[in-house]
Assembly symmetry: C2
Homo-oligomer: 321 residues x 2
């Protein structure tokens, strides 16, 4: 959420000559996205996002992400494809980092989406899942269920520094969800991080789906569960807005009517999403100095959502009782 | 150089209804400027910078800064005036901060200005000083010569942590420059911080002068000296580009031919600029944790410039010998 790598105007102007995008007019470092450096670049022909990939995005994964974006853009989805240079290349190196020049999309990320906006976004996810039916790319989910236990073990007893008893409670939840995980539900390429941050809205219309840097092959319904968990609660994870949550599912169901198996598994997938974000935030929390300028996200905000998604499980846990 | 205060899209859309600027289309937090929070905002009618003033800019000073910008814009200078709302107000409150909506200017800040660009910028400063001949606003320089000794004393012996002997050397320079300071040279409103960062260029043309938040009443020639010291050295302060420095003065001289007194005093004013930025950077250095995400600027980069501006003085100093 900061600009980690500085690109001088001179270097940027030179970089742009590789593309048919006109001359540099303006460039502003922007605070956006996963841990990448981003510049909003204006040229004499249009606007672009220049992204330099920092440690969290592996350069090896870029071909997958970019081919997925190309595929979705070709099918008319509002995603930002990378611009190819005169030699047809989309992946470059700039200031020692892998770098892409990406089409700018208008729209704003909402903090408090309305049910109508949730309906439109559920619909957009359904369209996205339909559009990848013939996408051949494959990427293991680097934050999928098989990674949770190793991450839990790396956090270890320190979890109890976040809330007394959290270590034991997450162990209970992990045991339960690993046993119940519905591995045989339909899978495809999914976004895997479609928080409100990553949807650009113009009024009640979805103008952009962005930040595909967790995209992977995983259960379709898990994508919907992540969106549901991220959209239909307040920032503390205490208050659930069921109308927004239902609207997301209704919009999605225009494209994929949930099967009986999927309806039965939805709560478990949502609990999985809560475990995933609790653990990744807990790791960041435990490894970020309290006085650092990056905002540490409250790991408990996702944990508290278990009260809605699995009240019986939550009732057994001291941290949620 | 970060976004300190978050403004939600919903709050921003509501804020924009106070102005005749159309509907919100896009908003990106940008990493720019003194310690303010800035958003690049696009509406259906144009582009703007939304600035929320954090601790370093006092809300009490805003009327001065804004009236200076209005005055300069009226005279055709490429500065970004604040947009007035339907009631004629430019200063607002948003998210608990003083806030202004400012016209967006195109252009890029250069890292390595050429002599031609330096000539254009010297010329722009000359035009700016001419344009304020009938500006009635007044503001004491909050970083002027009378503030250097108190700041030096607040830094104290800790200066020697930056370089052994720095405390004693700065004392020598302060004594010398306070005694020689040419207080009777012509004064006016000046920018007082016209680093390359604060000049937006389109090719070889000055498209914008920005970040007037150190503007004040002080010696005109001191403004030129600050620009000279910030433009005509490399980042380490070791290598001086005399051609760029001369071009700045040549451009400026199209509007104000330097008097004999001014030519004689220029070196002292430049040493003063070096002391001012050495001290403010030293203070930030000593008060910023080494692992903070903000980049600490090297205090010695301005100190080393003394070797060019006053070789005799520098020769007496262990830190510069």
């Amino acid at each position: 959420m900061a600009v980690y790598t500085h690109v001088s105007a001179e270097l940027l102007a030179d970089f742009l000559t590789r593309f048919d995008v006109g001359q540099l007019v303006s460039a502003k470092g922007i605070a956006e996205g996963v841990e990448n450096s981003n510049y909003l670049v204006e040229t004499t022909t249009g606007r672009f996002i220049l992204t330099l990939y920092e440690k969290r995005v592996s350069g090896d994964d870029l071909p997958y992400f970019l081919s997925l974006l190309d595929h979705l853009a070709d099918k008319g989805l509002p995603v930002p494809p990378a611009i190819k240079d005169r030699d047809g290349r989309a992946i470059h190196e700039l200031a020692g980092r892998p770098a892409c020049l990406i089409r700018f999309l208008p729209g704003v990320s909402l903090s408090h989406p309305t049910p109508v906006q949730a309906l439109a976004t559920g619909d957009a996810m359904g369209r996205m899942h339909r559009a990848v039916a013939d996408f051949s790319g494959d990427r293991t989910n680097s934050m999928g269920i098989d990674t949770w236990r190793p991450l839990f073990q790396r956090c270890g007893d320190s979890l109890d520094q976040i809330a007394p008893g959290l270590h034991g409670d997450i162990a209970i939840a992990l045991d339960a969800i690993e046993a119940r995980w519905p591995r045989r539900l339909p899978a495809s390429a999914i976004h895997a991080d479609l928080f409100p941050d990553n949807v650009l809205m113009l009024g009640e219309r979805v103008a952009g789906l962005i930040d595909f840097y967790f995209a992977c092959t995983d259960l379709r319904l898990y994508d919907l569960a992540i969106m549901h968990a991220s959209w239909s609660f307040d920032a503390t994870g205490v208050h659930h807005d069921a109308v927004v949550g239902d609207a997301l599912i209704e919009g999605y169901s225009r494209h994929f009517l949930l099967s009986a198996d999927e309806r039965a598994a939805f709560g478990d997938l949502a609990v999985g999403a809560c475990i995933r974000f609790t653990l990744s935030r807990a790791w960041d929390w435990l490894n970020t100095p309290a006085d650092a300028l990056v905002t540490r996200k409250d790991p408990l905000a996702f944990w508290r959502r278990l009260r809605v998604y699995d009240p019986d499980l939550a009732a057994r846990m001291p941290t949620l009782a």
